[in-house]
Point group: C2
Chain length 338, copies 2
Amino acid sequence: MKNDLILRAIKGEQVERPPVWMMRQAGRYLPEYMVLRRKYDFFTRIKTPDLACEITIQPIDIVGTDAAILFSDILTVPEAMGLEVQMVPDKGPYLPKTVKTKEDLDQLVVKDAHHEMQYVYDAIKVTKEALNDRVPLIGFAGAPFTILCYMVEGKGTKTFLESRKMLLATPELAHGLLQAITDVTIKYLQSQIEAGADLVQVFDSWSGLLDRQTFNTFCLPYIEQIAMAIDGKVPVIYFPRGNWHSLADVDKLPIDCIGLDWATPPAYARSQSDKCLQGNFDPAKLLMSPDRIEADTKEMIRAFGTHNYIANLGHGISPNVPVENAKRFVDTVKNWSN
Amino acid sequence: MKNDLILRAIKGEQVERPPVWMMRQAGRYLPEYMVLRRKYDFFTRIKTPDLACEITIQPIDIVGTDAAILFSDILTVPEAMGLEVQMVPDKGPYLPKTVKTKEDLDQLVVKDAHHEMQYVYDAIKVTKEALNDRVPLIGFAGAPFTILCYMVEGKGTKTFLESRKMLLATPELAHGLLQAITDVTIKYLQSQIEAGADLVQVFDSWSGLLDRQTFNTFCLPYIEQIAMAIDGKVPVIYFPRGNWHSLADVDKLPIDCIGLDWATPPAYARSQSDKCLQGNFDPAKLLMSPDRIEADTKEMIRAFGTHNYIANLGHGISPNVPVENAKRFVDTVKNWSN
């Protein structure tokens, strides 16, 4: 691997500067991506290995991040489990069929669902070859609770009330669904790793809607299963967005790195965990002037320290960020010297 | 006042049990409200004092909370400042004209805007008379940053990126707009108090989108101005949703009580502030069985302690809560004995 900085940093090795990548770095802020987006619909983009590969590598060429993350979507899993996923323009995902009862749960595909995502493993193989060891490739999946949210509601909502109702009012059903998703996710991530993923990130985009006890009951045990199943084969990053109150509990998981949202103060996070931390530049700050971006990025690195640290955003980059600004963020980290 | 429990609790007096009310307690979970909602549109409901009064008192009669909160909306202020507000069914508020530039800001009504909300003061007078001192009446306003969000975006969004861009990239413009909103809000709340409001709550629904430094720069100074202007005439509750990282800073404000969202652990909040705390039952828990609601409500009271405490939800009650469940929550607090 020509640039293995992120792999060394996540193992806790001393590095000359922090590695840097950006959540949603293959995305709409890149004009080169917009060309492909206009030409191919969402599922064509993620299900055609050559297209997914091209999109995955764009930010490596254009912005110069230290890792690539496969262009894909966390909703590949519900689809593989038998729930149709539609992408409604300007609205986001829509699942016509949802899971509300034990009968719905029993109809889901579990044992063989991971075979339905062969296109993901193929995309990883093609991308690994095209990357030619320039930088590591990150595979990923949604965390079981976050996937449950979409399976229960059928779309994004503000507070995922029906999902939280399932956890609180019918915990047995919720645990059954979470276990089914976990079983699929384990095989999904193992297959991604077999195909060549150098590390994996598990996104818990909605876990911040849960209080500490609910999060610890319905999220952590499943993340633990996933991490145990990967068993050190590649490093695991877990991103529990908004779960500041449980960082000390997350710290006990057999994972290698904790992703942080932008509202979590670095010093607080360091006080809760000795693990490698990843984050957490506010994507809105990429809309400031490049000089302000540079100043605030330096402040962030100082606050986290360069050891046990991966520089990233605290949320996905937004479509209206000028490429020049994203570059300044990345370059500031790359030009850092201790 | 026949039931002045909330006023005594917020002053730090020893009380026999915590007072209890629910955010959005006058709302869609009540069949009696739904009758009026089908008959009169949103603006008719909030701008007709007799209707606002009837809706305000419904939960006092039906659920038996220890305080009434005026049925109104935080968007009365943008409207009074010259921005039309529409309510789009199933979508929420929409403001066709927004504030993006200094020119937009200069066109806003500031000095006389509070006169445009006479219907609110009239509703308070009618309601105070109808309540006949059964329970105190809470007046309210949106916090300046949260109002800015709607003025800038024109609607609710997931991350209010344009608003946060204004703060970060054009802080002078943001401070100008926040000051204008603050000036109006001060006169608005003073007028509510003159009309009879016994205490006021300031809702910062979106401040949790800001990191500590941004929150402390763009929210706290304006809340401080508002609290100073009220100057002890009535107690002030500030609800900065999601700003767990700044509770120690919020504690320094000249306010009387801090409202907490449901994700904030009680013990953590107590460690950050000696003030009266309000909250923070997860509204999703009102969808559990009444017996589970009772058990978890008791656990919440034990965690906060009964001194310096107002029992409430950590977010507005949702439309799908059975009235019986809301009652069980309220009754559990009312039956508490130390």
